[in-house]
């Protein structure tokens, strides 16, 4: 319902809304965003959309090339793999594993990281210093190495790699929240509400969080592209998703033996990974660009 403007009043859009209106203006970012939305839809509805089963093998149709090949079959648009499974359905199902799970991973580590980061920003002195040193140590270990250690403790499986990636992503969210909150707390508007008698928690909730949420979202998109690559890399190394699951990295690894006979079993999952990482990165870049633009204006 349209809202009638009775009074002439100036409207101040919230930081998130401003971000969106800046974000909309960049074409490349919108392209990335539509790719991102496409992947989200695919990840949620892949069981309904997929033309064939992603795990049932069909021994009559082994290594069928994609439909544009002379020997291809149009009902198996992207061909089949070495067990006669439809590549298109597997890739679609893989979207919910590689892309969808990376989303879940980022959400979990974001929530934990932001909570711990706010806690650490509110504490001062020795406690905070020890905590920061501890974070520096964890940040200096590469995420993949950390994930490998955790997989070594828990054993290779998809859910274990997810926990491993969550754990290795948490420190960067703590770091960015901590720094952003510290920065905001030095600003005058925080001082103003402190003079009004607000306590730290209230300032955090009503003054600081609305202003730092854009930074956290930008970090989340960057973290998601890293998470997709990590899930796929661990799947490729055989430490993540196990064989019948159509996780893109694991699919790529399965196709490796037949790379020369059936190159599509390798390059298609690779392209899928590239596409999802690229659209996530474009969204992240667009967000970063929008934030910068708003700061300059």
């Amino acid at each position: 319902m349209a809202r009638d403007k009775i009074y002439i009043e100036e409207e101040f859009p919230s930081p998130l809304r401003q971000l969106w209106s800046n974000f909309k203006q960049t074409n490349v970012a919108m392209l990335g965003f539509s790719g991102y939305l496409f992947l989200v839809v695919l990840a949620i509805f892949s069981p309904l959309l997929a033309p064939h089963s992603s795990v049932d093998s069909n021994l009559n149709l082994l290594l069928l090339p994609p439909a544009w090949d002379a020997q291809g079959d149009v009902s198996y648009l992207l061909g089949t793999d070495s067990l006669g499974r439809d590549m298109l359905s597997r890739l679609m199902h893989g979207a919910s594993l590689t892309f969808g799970l990376s989303f879940v991973v980022v959400i979990i580590s974001l929530v934990v990281g932001v909570l711990l980061g706010s806690l650490s920003a509110l504490t001062k002195g020795v406690k905070s210093s020890i905590f920061n040193h501890f974070l520096d140590v964890i940040l200096s270990i590469p995420t993949l190495l950390l994930a490998i250690i955790i997989v070594a403790i828990l054993g290779p499986s998809l859910s274990n790699t997810l926990w491993a990636i969550v754990l290795s992503m948490i420190p960067q969210f703590i770091h960015i929240t901590h720094n952003a909150i510290k920065e905001e707390f030095n600003k005058d508007y925080v001082l103003a509400s402190r003079l009004d008698g607000a306590d730290s928690l209230r300032i955090l909730r009503y003054s600081v969080f609305p202003n730092i949420i854009e930074k956290i979202i930008t970090q989340a998109t960057l973290a998601q592209s890293a998470a997709i690559l990590d899930i796929a890399a661990l799947g490729f190394l055989g430490l993540g998703a196990q064989s019948p699951l159509p996780e893109w990295g694991a699919m790529l690894f399965n196709g490796l033996d037949l790379f020369y006979i059936a190159p599509w079993t390798v390059y298609l999952p690779g392209l899928a990974i590239l596409f999802s990482v690229l659209s996530t990165n474009l969204v992240g870049e667009g967000l970063r660009h929008a934030i910068q633009q708003r700061k300059e204006s």
Binding site: V137, L145, I149, V266, G270, L274, V277, L278
Partner: protein, 342 residues
């Protein structure tokens, strides 16, 4: 500078303490008996195990166990590998140089590609070149490293047959093991096929090094671009312009120098990413380095190897980190000041 050194050293000490503590406690986290995980003696009898736990002070407090663990690490004893039953310190001494060699060459490659491109993008800001370089950076950052590796093997090793696809030197050459760094060893050896071996090793390193270098290079492009733009916006550049210097003079004499110093700081941070890529690439290219060894240790459930590999690899990364910090501080006096909240 003294205070800076002291702060860095205390950070180093603290980090090593935490890393060794983490590595030690892993022997309890891993499945199986802690003493077997620590020593790697999978075939030991009951009596030998009893003797071992005496040596490792397993019946004493956690702190004294940790202390004994540290003492043994300092003596260079990391136990034996569960899979091969060879001393782990020897294996690491054989494998780590290959990884260092590969990662340093990739780092040089990434920097020599990324930094100039980033500078060019910044100088031609908001023009076509800037956009082209930036889109290259985004695509390069998004390519999965294992896929890129396979592709390059397919093109350059199989279709064109220009470059070898596995290992770090052809088996025909026999290079005596002196330092472990292949290129230095080749130059030290007095074989008559020295230069053939050198070129062969060079041909072997090109593909893996460029695969590893792509993603860090794109990061360097962005960092160099923003560093250069920051420098170009400063008032001393404006002053140089008012003095009447040409654009080329300003960029060569003032901008590049100051932007390069800023870049050194990021190298240490990028190094840990680079090692991650190196680990995956080593698996694809069958490179005899520590990354492939670590990943194989997981397949073989060689917990002793994983534990020590983690310790060695992360200390290596951290040492590189500290060294770049020092280089940055010596070159840039501004960084030595004690910044609060950093």
């Amino acid at each position: 500078m003294l205070q800076f050194t002291f702060r860095r050293l205390s950070l180093f000490f603290f980090t090593m303490l935490l890393l060794s503590l983490l590595s030690f406690s892993l022997s309890y986290f891993f499945p199986g008996d802690a003493i077997i995980n620590l020593s790697g003696q999978v075939n030991a009898s009951q009596e030998e195990l009893a003797l071992l736990s005496q040596q490792y002070a397993m019946h004493e407090s956690f702190f004294s166990q940790y202390w004994h663990y540290l003492l043994r690490i300092f003596q260079g004893d990391m136990g034996i590998s569960m899979a091969s039953q060879l001393p782990i310190s020897d294996e690491i001494a054989n494998l780590l140089p290959a990884t260092i060699e590969l990662s340093i060459i990739s780092l040089i490659l990434a920097m020599s590609l990324g930094i100039p491109l980033g500078f060019i993008a910044a100088i031609f800001h908001k023009r076509a070149i800037d956009n082209i370089i930036l889109s290259f950076a985004i695509v390069g950052y998004s390519i999965p490293v294992f896929w890129l590796g396979l592709f390059l093997i397919l093109i350059f090793s199989i279709q064109l047959a220009w470059l070898p696809s596995a290992g770090n030197i052809s088996l025909l050459f026999e290079i005596p093991h002196v330092t472990g760094f292949l290129f230095i060893d080749i130059l030290l050896s007095n074989s008559e096929y020295k230069w053939q071996a050198f070129y062969n090793a060079l041909a072997h390193i090109i593909l893996p090094a460029s695969v590893i270098a792509i993603a860090p290079a794109t990061v360097f492009i962005r960092l160099a671009r923003s560093a250069m733009m920051e420098v170009l916006a400063t008032s001393y550049i404006k002053a140089a312009k008012t003095k009447g210097l040409t654009n080329a003079q300003i960029i060569y004499r003032h901008a590049i120098r100051n932007a390069l110093i800023k870049m050194i700081r990021h190298i240490g941070l990028q190094f840990s990413h680079l090692i991650t890529f190196a680990m995956i690439t080593e698996v694809i290219f069958n490179w005899p380095g520590i990354g492939r060894w670590l990943i194989e240790s997981i397949y073989q459930r060689d917990y002793t190897a994983i534990q020590s590999g983690l310790l060695v690899l992360s200390s290596f990364i951290f040492i590189v980190h500290i060294i770049t910090d020092f280089i940055y501080a010596t070159l840039n006096p501004l960084a030595r000041e004690n910044k609060h909240g950093s």
